[in-house]
């Protein structure tokens, strides 16, 4: 067996094995689930330096030949490893998440492993039709995971399946349009990209872009993520919509924008505008949410905007920023979803108005979510800052100050929104309803996954030069240009600003900045040390503890609270923004709801035609037969 098959076959075979095992071997299913994802991670790390391709003729129908063609390049190698890592961590988390709630539902690990296999397949395929098959497999597994063992997940899962199905259809049509023109091999396509000067090629690009946007969850095809989040297991949210779906969507976007097509300036501008709108629109929606899972979902949408913006610039630095942000987002977003899941598991509620004061009882969850919240808000020296920094620089290099403002403003609003989250969930007085809450009932798996992800947030931020030099840079096309390195981009080296493929750098109108993570980390560490020292020596009494005086009344921690749900209500009164938010909240901007409304007359007509009477059905059959006969006779 060829090496490249390993990341697809290992989880696929493990998934089928779990599927075939009888229901009473539940423990064995879980063991195979975790070991299968672990083996996938090991195989993908072992393969990370492989650069090869392989092809077998798989099926032949008439003139259509389906090659089972795989290849691994500078991009897919680390993307596969990232998928393996995320599936391992969410599998470990799932063992704790389901403990004491009837155990892991029947085929959960089978679907999860097959989704991993499908995601690796998308990243490795070198054939357009094969890519579509694996892509569909991930969509289907997302649906099955969302409904496994949880009935309230069904409406969200149906919506996700409908929206993703629309995207998949666009992908299929786009792929067939490419394939009829240029054949099915991706390597051949990348060797001579399609120029977007013909209407047909522009249409193809837009179709594939829509597929990538639906998968990654960019506006306006994002609406399935928030709806799905409220009824689905936290481990599923962290695994697919939070991380792997983003990787797949952005993978496709990067491929179509950089390798398969040569998009014109106008098309790139469209991608950048979608990115900027997504950043701002979704972060505003996130600010007014009361449900922690919905809030996190809107942030998951908002962060996709940065990736679109970075890749849309088409410069090396922008592409690096977009791809690095994809990596970072999958890590901190998975951590946030898992942390929210821990809170939900222990408290039973996700309503920000009812949570509070959990920092002392859930310190590990708080620590992990705190780091991840700072990372998503772009606080140096965490990983979210490093990638956002590259996106900012790309906006400057592309001479697009409006996009820079959108990106910076979105980042600030993200921080504001996470202040609300941290305050509502962890700080403030603890309501009496939260008194019995304690951490760790789910065993070691849940904190292990969260702490690993939070540690990765710090490592990828402080040592950002390492992934940029070794993985992201080569994927963004730096390899071809020789002397340049990824860390040069981090330090604002203008030479990295050229277009992908080595065009001349654009004129500079703004001074480049430099990100020096070691200096920032060092200063922060010194500051923390000094603070600890001062507190320890007792030189600075930082606080006094006195009983609270409330006009002679006893202090009631259920009444005298300031839940974060009130924080940004005034956003809804802003002219323009407020009405847009109300439109968004009522579902008028959601294509799924709009399609439902538009399709209602047709549904009503069909319902009337379904009389349930056998005579009527027979009549329709005969009418159809008569039409067929008439058409055949008329020829």
């Amino acid at each position: 067996m060829h090496d490249l098959l390993l990341p697809i076959v290992i989880p696929g075979a493990a998934g089928l094995l779990v599927f075939a095992l009888p229901a009473r071997l539940r423990g064995l299913r879980t063991v195979i689930g975790v070991l299968g994802t672990f083996a996938t991670l090991v195989a993908s790390v072992w393969l990370i330096d492989t650069r090869t391709g392989v092809s077998w003729t798989w099926m032949q129908f008439g003139g259509l030949e389906l090659d089972f063609a795989l290849r691994m390049d500078a991009f897919s190698s680390w993307a596969v490893a990232l998928v393996g890592l995320l599936s391992l961590l969410t599998a470990i988390y799932a063992t704790g998440w389901f403990r004491g709630r009837g155990g892991v539902p029947g085929r959960y690990f089978a679907w999860m492993l097959l989704a991993t296999s499908g995601a690796c397949g998308v990243l490795l395929s070198d054939n357009l039709l094969l890519l579509v098959l694996f892509w569909e497999l991930v969509t289907l597994m997302l649906f099955l995971l969302a409904v496994s063992g949880r009935d309230e997940g069904a409406p969200g899962a149906a919506k996700a399946f409908a929206v993703l199905g629309l995207g998949d259809m666009a992908l299929l049509v786009g792929v067939v349009l490419i394939g009829m023109d240029r054949g099915w091999s991706l390597s051949a396509l990348a060797a001579s990209p399609l120029a977007t000067d013909r209407a047909l090629h522009v249409l193809t690009y837009v179709l594939l872009l829509a597929a990538a946007m639906a998968k990654a969850g960019a506006m306006p095809l994002h609406s399935w993520i928030p709806t799905m989040s409220t009824g689905t297991h936290a481990s599923v949210m962290a695994f697919l919509p939070g991380a792997v779906d983003k990787i797949l969507g952005i993978y496709l976007l990067a491929r179509i924008s950089l390798a398969w097509f040569a998009p014109t300036e106008g098309l790139r501008m469209v991608v950048m505008i979608i990115g900027a709108v997504t950043i701002l629109g979704a972060v505003f929606m996130a600010m007014i949410q009361h449900d922690l899972r919905r809030l996190l979902s809107f942030h998951a949408v908002s962060q996709v905007g940065y990736m679109l913006l970075g890749i849309g610039t088409g410069t090396v630095i922008g592409v690096m920023g977009g791809l690095f942000h994809m990596v970072n987002n999958s890590i901190y977003k998975a951590c946030l979803f898992l942390g929210a899941g821990s809170v939900e598991r222990e408290t039973g509620t996700m309503d920000l108005g009812r949570l509070g004061g959990l920092v002392r009882v859930m310190p590990v969850t708080f620590g992990a979510m705190f780091v991840a919240a700072l990372a998503i808000s772009g606080i140096p020296p965490l990983n979210g800052f490093a990638s956002k920094w590259l996106v900012y620089e790309a906006c400057i290099a592309a001479d697009a100050p409006l996009f820079l403002v959108a990106a910076l403003f979105g980042s600030a609003l993200t921080l504001a929104s996470f202040v609300k989250v941290l305050h509502s969930v962890f700080w403030g007085p603890k309501p009496t309803a939260m008194d019995g809450v304690r951490e760790g009932a789910g065993g070691i798996g849940m904190p292990m996954a969260m702490v690993t992800l939070a540690a990765l947030c710090i490592v990828l931020g402080v040592f950002a030069a390492w992934p940029l030099d070794d993985f992201i840079g080569p994927a963004a096309g730096l390899e071809a240009e020789g002397a340049l390195t990824g860390s040069a981009a981090l330090e604002g080296n203008a030479a990295t600003w050229g277009e992908v493929g080595g065009a001349t750098p654009p004129p500079r109108r703004y001074a480049p900045g430099a990100m020096q993570p070691y200096v920032i980390t060092g200063l922060l560490a010194v500051g923390v040390l000094v603070l600890l020292l001062m507190a320890h020596m007792g030189q600075m009494r930082m606080r006094r503890v006195r009983p609270v005086f409330v006009g002679g009344q006893p202090f009631d921690r259920d009444v005298n609270r300031f839940p974060g749900t009130e924080f940004y209500k005034t956003v809804q009164d802003l002219p323009g923004v407020g009405s847009a938010l109300r439109l968004g909240a009522s579902g008028h901007l959601d294509p799924y709801e709009a399609a439902q409304r538009a399709g209602r007359p047709a549904v009503r007509l069909l319902r009337r035609l379904h009389s349930g009477l056998v005579g009527d059905y027979l009549f329709w059959c005969l009418l159809g037969l008569a039409i067929v006969v008439a058409v055949l006779l008329g020829r």
């Binding site: 319902r607 379904h610 009389s611 349930g612 009477l613 056998v614 005579g615 027979l618 009549f619 005969l622």
Partner: protein, 116 residues
């Protein structure tokens, strides 16, 4: 020609019973009439005016037999069809009985669980 018209009229009667009548047994009868209309039509197609039964007598040449006898193929087909029709009738009546046990009625319009 009249015989063809008869087959068509019988077919129409059967179709009418099948589509319009509400009583299940009337639907069954309609279907049986329709079926026999088709059988009649098939036999008529193979009929030769003034022809003999398709039985080859001893000493008859093949050419003389083919010139005088009616077409045996539709007849064989229709024989099979009649037997199948009998089985079909039994099945339909048995299902009607089951439906009567389930719904307490043979009115087809009361069985509209597919509605909506």
């Amino acid at each position: 020609m009249t015989m063809y018209v008869l087959a068509a009229v019988l077919f129409g009667v059967g179709l009418y019973g099948l589509l319009v009548k509400r009583h299940l047994l009337k639907k069954v009868l309609g279907l049986l009439i329709l079926e026999h209309a088709v059988n009649l039509f098939l036999v008529e197609v193979g009929y030769v005016d003034g022809g003999s039964p398709p039985i080859r007598l001893a000493g008859e040449t093949a050419a003389a037999f083919a010139g005088g006898a009616v077409d045996p193929l539709p007849q064989a087909l229709v024989l099979t069809s009649i037997v199948i029709g009998l089985g079909l009738a039994m099945l339909m009546v048995a299902l009607s009985l089951r439906i009567y046990e389930r719904y307490g009625s043979l009115d087809a319009d009361r069985m509209s669980e597919l509605k909506g």
